[in-house]
């Protein structure tokens, strides 16, 4: 309560910043500490900034200095931001936007199928607010992409229609990928062929794109062509290019469910998304390394017989191990917090809890 009284006094002092009333800018520190989700979020923010002393004081409910209270107040504001921004992102996830996102990944589709949309959103709410705290750049990039997908909702079906029309114009109805999927099903070809085909097509498209960007076919230059045969040669190149682009379109528009992951992954490689976190293999940790870390930690904590420790001490040590691993992995992987790194840290925590 001391904390809360101090917070209110501070906020009243600030006046301009909190003109309405302290309750108008929830959550208060007291509310944060009462709510397990919020206090976990606060803990995460403190762990990320390596504020061990504050974490310990909060755990033991010890008194804070004025500076510490000011610091905690800043964290409180950060938490409010994280919650508000996560809500903003969630509000973008209308059924139409979710449909586009879910339709882009069979794995995510499987998860949503298991959980249902509402439960998925509940888990995402926690995930997003955590991502805001530990990886703001990633959060911002994700929010921006969702915003663009949402804005393109109507435009997308229009684009699809225009692309289909282009396919019809070039007489392309059956995509190569579709034929390959059938051959894969019969065991005649391997999946790699699809990836290779998509990559080959993307290379061709890139060349066509670069060629168009080069401005070879400005009206002025076309007008300078003075021989019919010369014009025909150029036209043949354009027809070939259109056919190539048409095949690529057919592969994007008419792709099968089974092939969507392969196709999208190839596109993903091509468009290299910004702000990506770690891959699991980058964040490699073997069971032996983990055991080694754990033994080292217990040694440092002068624990000789784990089994004989009281439950409370065990929990304290597990929590300490989690913080240590968060710092260690955080230092090792720089700013790639969130996503895989957080999952890994939670896996480490789960592994320690099973001790």
């Amino acid at each position: 309560m001391v904390v809360e009284r101090f917070r209110r006094a501070q906020e009243q002092k600030k006046g301009g910043e909190y003109e309405q009333s302290p309750e108008a800018v929830p959550p208060s520190l007291a509310e944060i500490l009462k709510d397990p989700k919020l206090s976990e979020l606060l803990n995460l923010a403190l762990e990320k900034d390596n504020k061990q002393k504050l974490i310990e004081k909060l755990l033991k409910r010890e008194a804070f200095s004025e500076n510490e209270l000011e610091e905690l107040n800043n964290y409180r504001i950060l938490l409010k931001e994280a919650i508000d921004k996560s809500q903003e992102v969630l509000s973008l996830l209308t059924p139409e936007t979710i449909k586009i996102i879910v339709g882009s990944s069979n794995k995510f589709k499987k998860l949503v199928g298991t959980l249902g949309i509402e439960n998925t959103k509940k888990l995402l709410e926690v995930y997003l607010s955590r991502l805001y705290i530990v990886g703001k750049d990633r959060f911002d990039s994700l929010a921006e992409k969702i915003q663009q997908i949402k804005e393109a909702e109507r435009q997308l079906s229009n684009i699809d229609e225009q692309l289909k029309e282009a396919c019809r114009r070039y007489g392309i109805s059956e995509p190569e990928l579709g034929r390959l999927y059938e051959r894969i099903a019969k065991g005649e070809v391997k999946e790699d062929e699809i990836t290779n085909l998509v990559k080959r097509r993307l290379n061709i498209l890139q060349k066509i794109w670069d060629f168009l960007q080069g401005g070879t076919y400005s009206q002025k230059r076309v007008d300078e062509l003075n021989k019919i045969t010369e014009v025909q040669t150029h036209l043949n190149t354009i027809y070939d290019n259109l056919k190539e682009v048409g095949e690529m379109i057919a592969n994007v528009i008419y792709t099968t469910n089974g092939g969507i992951d392969i196709l999208n992954k190839a596109l993903w490689d091509e468009f290299k998304p910004l702000g990506q976190g770690l891959s699991f293999k980058e964040a490699f940790y073997s069971p032996e390394e983990l055991e080694e870390e754990w033994s080292e930690f217990l040694q440092e904590q002068k624990v000789t017989n784990w089994e004989q420790l009281e439950e409370e001490r065990k929990n304290e040590l597990k929590s300490g191990f989690k913080s240590r691993m968060r710092n260690k992995l955080g230092n090792k992987f720089g700013n790639k917090f969130g996503g895989v790194l957080d999952a890994l840290i939670n896996m480490v925590a789960g592994w320690a809890d099973s001790k």
Binding site: I101, K107, L111, L123, L124, K145, N226, L235, L242
Partner: protein
Amino acid sequence: MENIYEEFFKILAEGSEEDVRNFLIENFDKFPEDVKKDIVGIFFEEAVDLAYATLKFKERLLETVIELEKIKRALEDRKRELELKKELGIEPEE
């Protein structure tokens, strides 16, 4: 019997990225809420990236088609113009 975390670290050490991801999906229900939200978050981020990449790609495809068709029309017009000039004997071809 190994616990789910030991199994995870074993796959992480021995399997491919795809193996790890498939393991998480297949064993999703065995994990606590804390890990579940990370799994959902990871695959959500990935799905957003894929949807975004597809969107950008479709935009580029459409832009390419529009540009190529513009050039095609310009070249076809030029060809017709040269053919007409040839027919009329205004500017003999070759």
